[in-house]
Symmetry: C2
Amino acid sequence: MAAAIRALAMDAVQAANSGHPGAPMGMADIAVALWSRHLRHNPADPAWVDRDRFVLSNGHGSMLIYALLHLSGYALPMDELRAFRQLHSKTPGHPEVGITPGIETTTGPLGQGISNAVGMALAEKLLAAEFNRPGHALVDHRTYAFLGDGCLMEGISHEACALAGAWKLNKLIAIYDDNGISIDGQVQPWFVDDTPARFKAYGWQVIGPVDGHDVDAVDAAIAQAKTSVDQPVLIVAKTHIGKGSPNRANTAKAHGEPLGAEEIAKTREAIGWPHAPFEVPAEVYAAWDAKARGGALQASWQQGFEAYAAAHPELAEAFLRRMAGDLPADFAEIAVEAVGAAHDKAETVATRKASQIALEHFTARLPELLGGSADLTGSNLTNTNSTPAFRVDAAGAVVRTESGAIGRHINYGVREFGMAAIMNGVALHGGYIPYGGTFLTFSDYSRNAIRMAALMKLRVIHVFTHDSIGLGEDGPTHQSVEHAASLRLIPGLDVWRPADTCETAVAWTLALANKHRPSALLLSRQNLPYAPRTDADVITRGAYVLAEPSEVGLDKPAKAVILATGSEVQIALHAQAALAQAKIPVRVVSLPSTTVFDRQDAAYKSEVLPPKLPRIAIEAGVSDFWWKYGCAAVVGLDSFGESAPAGALFKHFGFTSENLVATVRKVLGK
Amino acid sequence: MAAAIRALAMDAVQAANSGHPGAPMGMADIAVALWSRHLRHNPADPAWVDRDRFVLSNGHGSMLIYALLHLSGYALPMDELRAFRQLHSKTPGHPEVGITPGIETTTGPLGQGISNAVGMALAEKLLAAEFNRPGHALVDHRTYAFLGDGCLMEGISHEACALAGAWKLNKLIAIYDDNGISIDGQVQPWFVDDTPARFKAYGWQVIGPVDGHDVDAVDAAIAQAKTSVDQPVLIVAKTHIGKGSPNRANTAKAHGEPLGAEEIAKTREAIGWPHAPFEVPAEVYAAWDAKARGGALQASWQQGFEAYAAAHPELAEAFLRRMAGDLPADFAEIAVEAVGAAHDKAETVATRKASQIALEHFTARLPELLGGSADLTGSNLTNTNSTPAFRVDAAGAVVRTESGAIGRHINYGVREFGMAAIMNGVALHGGYIPYGGTFLTFSDYSRNAIRMAALMKLRVIHVFTHDSIGLGEDGPTHQSVEHAASLRLIPGLDVWRPADTCETAVAWTLALANKHRPSALLLSRQNLPYAPRTDADVITRGAYVLAEPSEVGLDKPAKAVILATGSEVQIALHAQAALAQAKIPVRVVSLPSTTVFDRQDAAYKSEVLPPKLPRIAIEAGVSDFWWKYGCAAVVGLDSFGESAPAGALFKHFGFTSENLVATVRKVLGK
């Protein structure tokens, strides 16, 4: 069975003339132990909600999982393996969720797969606590992750694995492919960590080292790991990278290069695999076939689910709804209430507070909302009355409030990247909609996980507060300048920078409604006045006419358009009023989400931004971004900020209505 | 002495009505032990090259270091402390290098300060190995870092501290402010790491826990730490955050809020500090004053230096030059040779290879170049014949080659963020110009450290290879789409995306010559043809006319301008030729560095991009960026890539001369 993996891996890499044979060949025996003796999954239904999750954190070893999926009976025919790494095949260079049946997460950027796995195990633990009832173990599965030296060197592994220990995620089992080789060679000079000691320091159980080429030894280790009651488990498996290749095994060359025809021939002989490339004997297929066992497992679970549904019909319905990622049937009404309340109250608050007000409303009605913050809860305002803090007791059980509720707000600690990747794992698992907060500037730390959420089309919501120099005294290390613009460049990510409570409520509504898209909400530290408007619906279009000249008493058509976002919208309105005094009519367009606006039809776009009117943008951030809207001038900030009170900084950097008025007049030549 | 720190911290935070009193008050006693009994520094000359380095990694505790600098005699008068966190004061909210004398690095983004400290200690170790001679310990100082729970939770602390252990940086001493509190409260639910065990797993010596309020105990721990011969040292000091405040000590509220007038009055009483705010008695000043001791230390070192200079005049001169950050006197010639060689050979190679060719030249002539890669040496091509791998032996000594040379290329392991922050530390220390490589997409991982280099104005050079879909089969997780554009948004960072060997050599030249600016070089995986040109000097302007219509046989003035970078320049040249066949004359402008071009004078800019000619940009990345150049059309990529051979992807996504020709024709309406 292991030889089949080795052969498929080396042959597919050779056919593609690119790829990574070393990890699949080195981990083949471990894969036999896990996939044929432990993993509970059903190749006929990769979406079975109670399946074990399997994550290949060392995603470059993608041929390992493609071979496993093919051999065990997933809808991944041999032709797809032949087309490894070719355009539109189901076998891309790194595993991609949504492309290949049975792939649970997209991996490749090292350290993130294991962090996704932590999120999956967290979701399992929480769902089990929320839905299981005596006699009904509705949610009861494990999360397995394979990982290599690279994942363990990455800082994010520290963040995520420390949290797994703190949360006592005993159903998380990671298997470390300890082969002592990374791309630059034998790791000794740059990787001397005592990894078992490190993981014990996080509160993990560590098993091994075991011989990773001894299937029974790995099997026994996994069996032992499954008995853990209050600790995640790391199994250290000593392996030889490229095992089976007489000349490439144990070398860095095995990692990321085809073996070559000659070495492949020698390897065929060494591993006793006389079959042609992409040929697998029937008895090997039979040994791997997991369809019957998987079908039986799922049928048994289904039977259990039906008993559960009979006993707890509402819970069963809620469970299915949430695992499907559907919002409550009355979500539209819930959203209208949230936006309407903001509109009616017309409060002057910081948009981070506006976010909390909206969250207060949504978390009360959507039990799937799972909040959190990277140690800035009181600043990000991500917590609400409906979201008690998530805690586990000494035995690892989820702590309940007096009313029996489980925690729904997570203290991630100062771990932005880990938080983001864990949220991706939660979203991949299903059952919860994760959101988490930090300061906008520290979106830098989590940036690649935000990108991964966009690539995977996950509904993950980032609450980024303290969104500009408006945070004041903490100074340039904490002041975002380029962040709004650079987040907008990530394909598939919706970015919101609302101006007041109403725009913030709409931002939350769309972020929740976008099932297949992550969102980032950029929120002010400082108070912002409510911007009066008659129609809140139009905010859903991302940009809209907030104020025509008539609203400041000038009955003339606008001669220019001011584009503004977030805290600068109030400056735009003041400038509009001042210009009206000088009989210069301008329109103010608020653009809480340029990414949403960019998806509107051309007619709406030119309605909001009439082609013939000159445009002047203002945003307390880099100006480069705004030229895409054909601006004649941009009031922006193309240097770092300074440490001073917010008011002093806005003045210092020219974010004043006086400066905006002067800019508009210059553009109009009057 | 400690009470003076506590009083200054609480009073300054109160005066600013913002800031973080908890850490300075909690670490005051530790600071007394280190600063008054161990730290070798001279307040009169913060630039003394052999001073001990001190890093406040928990930078929010900035009032601690401002108090220390003021009290020990640096040019930081009391008026500056009174102006804490005010515009243009020398006491910004977080410590900033270049603003305040005695600040070694800008801290605030957690985990990076300790990583900078690792870089400083690395630089010290390497410089000592390179310059010290028997009887002459020219370079012999320590690096001290204070850090808190937040720094230890951040993933980057894992990356940097693991490397410090692997490198056996025995002169690095970190003191952990173990107060059990982070912003969200008592850390127990989210931070259960056994930190001493974790650091031992990295190969560190761990001392303590000691009582962080017992100056003698901390003093003894530091004395013991200084005896370490082959391990970095972590001193765990148990403290009470906000120590001295009767009601705020040991609470999260002490962390980041002013104590308030009432609590300050109570604290004054509790710590026995009857003096008015910002008043320090003469005897306290006298106890803190480090000027005499510092002056004597430096004088003694200077005497040693003069003996060294007498014995080794060339080494002494080289040492001073390098510590001053000056390039060799013949740098201009060296650069001309590098660029000239590229021009003469006119090779078709990948620009990552072109970078290695340039580096081969520069590293042979500039001994201060210190290369490295995050485990992608053979892909980034950051190593050269002049840069053997940096290694230490079992005793911690720097390994030498047979010819006696020390290592100058660092295997950072898979630790992009750690690498970037360590490079910042190396640059801050002085003596080396660090450069390091990874794939461009993983610049996401290190993004905030790149930003910090720009904020600090450090000459750090990032070699980002595999810069687009051109990397091919590894797929969208590895393919940069938004990265070139988003790096260009970081203020103060120069971004280069060269098209061939000549542009690459110029990029290296400017990156090296820019003493106060970091650079990022975005380089192709795939081969790129040499772009013939007569004048290579003009490349230094960031953008230039590469080919007029006359060069493709059309003697008419251009009717449009194609803007292109990197691998798309060849497509532009092909399109130009094809358009010439149709009698449509266009100019091709190559923009290897938009950031450099943006700093040119208006006359040059309009010479290159005549205002009246329509512009069409092509770059294999997001299109948004290019509208700033007033383009009529942009051939870009606004979605993620795919896994396939590079050629197939370029075609699939429309990066072909045919598509570019069609786009130009559409713009011109012909």
